[in-house]
Amino acid sequence: MNPWNKLMCYCRRRSPWLFHMNGGSCNGCDIELIASLTPRYDAEQLGVRLEGSPRHADILCITGPITHNAVNAIKTVYGQVCGPKAVVAIGSCPATTNVFIDSRTLAGPLNKHIPVDVFVPGCPPRPDAIIQGVAMAAGILAERAAKKLPIEPVVMPLSGSDCGGDCACAAKTESAPSEVQS
């Protein structure tokens, strides 16, 4: 890899800009996503910025079990995010449709429609787990752009919602914020 590509890879890992989209969520995961930007969790330490326009974003964060109404909007917005891009599915709903399984109003799970890079399970997942998922997605995005790899989904190794806050989710990942207050 030449120095410019190395620098680009480094910068892509450190500057994930998010676009948040609701695919029929109960709003629980959306609240947790916003909570990860608040003073207690402070995702801006990783360079995370919540952007207003999908054109500015690198990582598309999708919550909810993907209703029939939401499918076309999600596909459109996925197309509007400029490459290199990654998708993070936040919560159990976009991964499995969760308790709404077999509902006739649903078109989920999410990976039937767009390629998903990181699933962050939990109902809702803890903000630390979301931050870890976003950091992983930024790493995947940078690596994929550098090596021009095909898109393939990754499941996060630990579940965020069941840890109850005492398993030190942040300590297990190197790139989580340095001072997450308890």
Binding site: M8, P39, E44, E51, G52, P84
Partner: protein, 304 residues
């Protein structure tokens, strides 16, 4: 001002070579101080640089025709205008200048905002158009005060040369003018009480909504350069006249940093106002500063 000093000022100090890192630094100071005031740790020191490089490496949506060409042109015009404005600042003593460079500086400071308006309309997005309309209304409101304040300082000294204005001793009139300029800076830099044109929660970042990749990087850079130029203008007006060049440069940087901190604290402490409140604020409350400044300038001219 001969060609070599002009090029040195444009390209080295206080031009591109100084201004681009300074722009990133000021963008970081803004984000960091907002974070500290909210009880967060905030972004790392190199964050604006990382963002810039990352944006350079992103794709842009394909655009065809004259509209696409214009959308590529606006951020470049904005960046070069802002860099030119920084290059005109009389930071170093006896760095040369010309009669009327104040007018050129004001025109160059105005160009990025014109480009933002044009960019919003040429993106043909409804959010971009709303943002551009807001930017236009805002620019009409604050520019009356901003221009009257600067013209009153210039008129009292009978000169439009920046170097002569920077050498002025302190006077009550100058302080009045500087306060009026400071009141206008948050609107000029789209900072929080007046961040209407790029309101993220309401209109999806306004005129920038369709921009991506390197073009967005240019907008970020032009925003940073506008920071350097606008705070630098205040710094040169406030700074005492020094003959040692490195001391002058140091005082300039320190004063600019102070203005940046002041504006960031204001941005962190306030919420966004509605457009009608903003317009009323500038037309009803701050116009009095400007009218006071220009009338006292004219009075001083007639008496002398």
């Amino acid at each position: 001002m001969n060609l070599i000093t002009a090029l040195a000022r444009l390209l080295i100090f206080p031009g591109v070579l100084f201004a681009v890192p300074a722009a990133w630094f000021f963008l970081w100071v803004e984000r960091k101080s907002v974070a500290l005031m909210q009880g967060r740790i905030g972004p790392p020191f190199m964050q604006p640089f990382y963002d810039f490089i990352k944006l350079l490496g992103k794709d842009t949506p394909p655009r065809s025709g004259i509209g696409g060409l214009l959308m590529k042109a606006w951020p470049l015009i904005a960046v070069s205008a802002a860099a030119g404005a920084v290059g005109l600042l009389p930071v170093l003593p006896s760095s040369g200048g010309f009669q009327g460079d104040l007018i050129l500086l004001l025109a160059l400071l105005e160009l990025p905002s014109m480009c933002i308006i044009a960019a919003g309309f040429s993106s043909r997005s409804i959010f971009g158009e709303i943002g551009s309309a807001r930017e236009a209304v805002l620019s009409v409101s604050y520019n009356i005060v901003f221009l009257l304040a600067i013209v009153s300082i210039a008129a009292s000294q009978r000169t439009f040369s920046l170097e002569a204005l920077a050498r002025l001793p302190f006077s009550p009139l100058q302080i009045l003018g500087i306060v009026a300029i400071l009141v206008c800076l948050p609107a000029k830099l789209h900072l929080n009480p007046f961040s209407l044109p790029n309101a993220e929660q309401e209109i999806y970042s306004g005129p920038m909504v369709e921009y991506a990749g390197p073009e967005l990087a240019m907008w970020e850079l032009s925003h940073g350069l506008e920071w350097v130029a606008a705070t630098g203008l205040v710094a040169t007006l406030v700074a005492p006249h020094l003959t040692i060049w490195w001391l002058a440069a140091l005082v300039f940087v320190a004063l600019s940093f102070g203005v940046v901190l002041l504006l960031s604290v204001l941005a962190a402490a306030t919420a966004r106002l509605a457009i009608d409140t903003t317009v009323r604020f500038y037309w009803q409350c701050t116009l009095i500063f400007a009218v006071l400044a220009i009338s006292s300038a004219l009075f001083m001219r007639f008496r002398s």
